[in-house]
Amino acid sequence: MSGYPFYFLVTIGSVIGLAAAALVPFYLLLVAGDFVLNRLGDVDPFSRAAKFVGLMVKNLRRNMLRTSLAYLAIFVLVLVVVGVWSILAFLDLVTAEKSRDLKAIVTERWQIPSQMPYAYAYPLSQGAPEKEGDIVIGPDDSMTWQFYGGYTEREREKQTRDNLVFFFAMEPRKVLTMMDGIEELTPEQLRQLAQAVEIMEKDKTAVVIGADRLATLNKRVGETITVYGLNYRGIDLEMKIIGELPKGRWGQIGIMNRDYLNDAIDAYPARHRGQKHPLADRSLNLVWLRVPDTEAFKKVANQIMSSSAFTNPAVKCETAASGIGSWLDAYRDLIWGMRWLLSPAILVVMSLVVANAIGISVRERRGEMAILKVLGYQPWQIMLLILGEALVIGALSGLLSATLCQVVVNEMIGGVPFGIAFFPSFKIAAAAWWWGLSIGSITALLGSIWPAWTAQRVKVAEVFAKVG
């Protein structure tokens, strides 16, 4: 079995496995909480509060099957919400305009995908200065991108997604100064990448490929592959895999030396009766520029867009946020659905799950609620008891779900493999732990309001008329 059904089953299985494994810390926390609260119950001035909270924890331990099921339901739903919110937060971040140290993208003005002549590369990389006083972009503050994709299998019938690889052809050293996400690498990953860049500058056939893509290709560092051009038909390149990009954001892409691609484009006519490759004059896809502030951006954008050197085709210069936003337009409905349909629906479902579990528990314990009232407990104290039980389960479940999700997805999987535009995967946000804590707590509280209200309205005489 392969393809989507397989991944779907693997994902469902992993989530269930993770949730089941997370039951262990949940049980341990309940037992530890009970123990600590018992001890605090003998220490003034916390003793009475500790005993009361201890009663909440004991009530949760009363029916562990039901508590576990409620916990698992919240766990899985928080997991999904945290994943969705992480994607949305990342997209919000990359499309948020910065005022300092911002990046600009230069692309073809009227066509997507952008395909500009390679002759644009040098002047655009400098910011197209034409007269004295114009801003000149430094060599470390620009980066050109040419896209080269292809299959590792020659025969058409064997070419699938699994043997497809996609490269950013660029100046290797720009990886270290201009690539987004470089700041997320560990010092060791950075050192390895610097080594790989050094080799790529000396050997044009050397490439680095993301760990996830390497695994899909079933290739390892040190192997040589031949890539049969997909967009550059007829340009097949032999490449040495000399490094691995980390999982996650860069996990699915490859990086190659642009000179290797450009040399191959230049050599194409010699092997094709003097005919240039159809993309020979349209091989430059993007130019990235870094400018210090908004003012500088406006000036550089004006330099580029008013230059007569870039009229056929015309180019546009926009901030990275705006450029990415334009690309994300294709996913607008999906993102809207995630933000305004999926997330709220999950939160409502979570509240209903909690309401159901706590509601059943309250109905079963009407006699106990009545006893508490007989002993002198006030209605608000009984309400607090029920809300507290829901809060304990919601907060623990939410916190554990988000924290485990963060550890497993970021550290072990390398991100949520949910490709949108040119982002192949997304890391769980650093703020996820408190998202989980808040989501779990608030939805549990909302879901338990009605059961708690019902519990505090128990009529003692009516309950005992039935039971006694």
């Binding site: 005993k51 331990r61 007989v374 005489a461 006694g468």
Partner: protein, 241 residues
């Protein structure tokens, strides 16, 4: 010399509504219970004895009439005032014990004390005293499920006396027990009444249980039909069996 009444019911009536039908449970009932008396309320099902017990204990309010326990007019208290009053002044013993299954015997007895401003040490002292009185200190860390019916009822009695209440109300306290356990519970109640001078009002169907009380009151159709004073001598054996 007769003691001052600790419980006074004056012209107490109570009715319930079932749909459009009004059910008169108690009708213009008058009752005085002296301090330190062990009173048994008897009568057929539906005669109003549990209703009367609930009214005296502040679990319900009369439709008309006045109920006074000590200096407090229970019938005119609000819900929250009644709750506070019950904690300090009434101990409850139930037929089915009604212990919280997740708590140990110790924790069940401690439950009403959590509502009072007592230090942890003082609470512990009172709980241990109550458990000692009912003879269950060796079972205090057991949960209700690990105790016999008689032991559970003794925990229930410890919980009822732990706050040193003015009044103990018991609704069929031996109704779910075998004869031997029932005897032990009745012995315990009479000892408490005799040694601590507690006022006890007990609802029962069982004439043998009622015979242990000092006074037996028969209710029928919401009215006091017979008042048998001094069924037994305080702390002694039953006079009528």
């Amino acid at each position: 010399m007769a003691s001052e009444p600790i419980v006074r019911c004056i012209q107490v009536s109570k009715s319930f509504h079932r749909g459009s039908e009004e059910i008169q449970v108690l009708q213009s009932l008058n009752l005085e219970v002296p301090e330190g008396q062990f009173l048994a309320l008897m009568g057929p099902s539906g005669s109003g004895k549990t209703t009367l017990l609930n009214l005296i204990a502040g679990l319900d309010r009369p439709t008309t009439g006045t109920i006074q326990v000590g200096p407090d007019v229970v019938s005119s208290m609000s819900e929250s005032e009644l709750a506070r009053w019950r904690t300090r002044h009434v101990g409850f013993v139930f037929q089915f014990y009604h212990l919280l299954s997740v708590l140990t015997a110790y924790e069940n007895v401690e439950l009403p004390l959590l509502l009072l401003p007592l230090s942890a040490a003082r609470r512990r002292e009172q709980v241990l005293t109550a458990l000692e009185l009912v003879g269950l200190t060796d079972r205090m860390h057991h949960r209700p499920g690990q105790l016999s019916g008689g032991q559970q009822q003794r925990v229930g009695i410890a919980r009822a006396i732990v706050t040193n209440p003015t009044l103990i109300v018991a609704d069929e306290p031996t109704g779910d027990l075998d004869a031997r356990s029932a005897e032990e519970i009745l012995n315990l109640l009479t000892e408490l009444q005799a040694s601590l001078n507690k006022t006890i009002i007990m609802v029962t169907h069982d004439p043998r249980a009622a015979s242990r009380a000092q006074r037996i009151l028969h209710l029928e159709k919401g009215q006091l039909v017979e008042d048998t004073g001094a069924a037994m001598t305080p702390g002694g054996a039953a006079a009528a069996s």
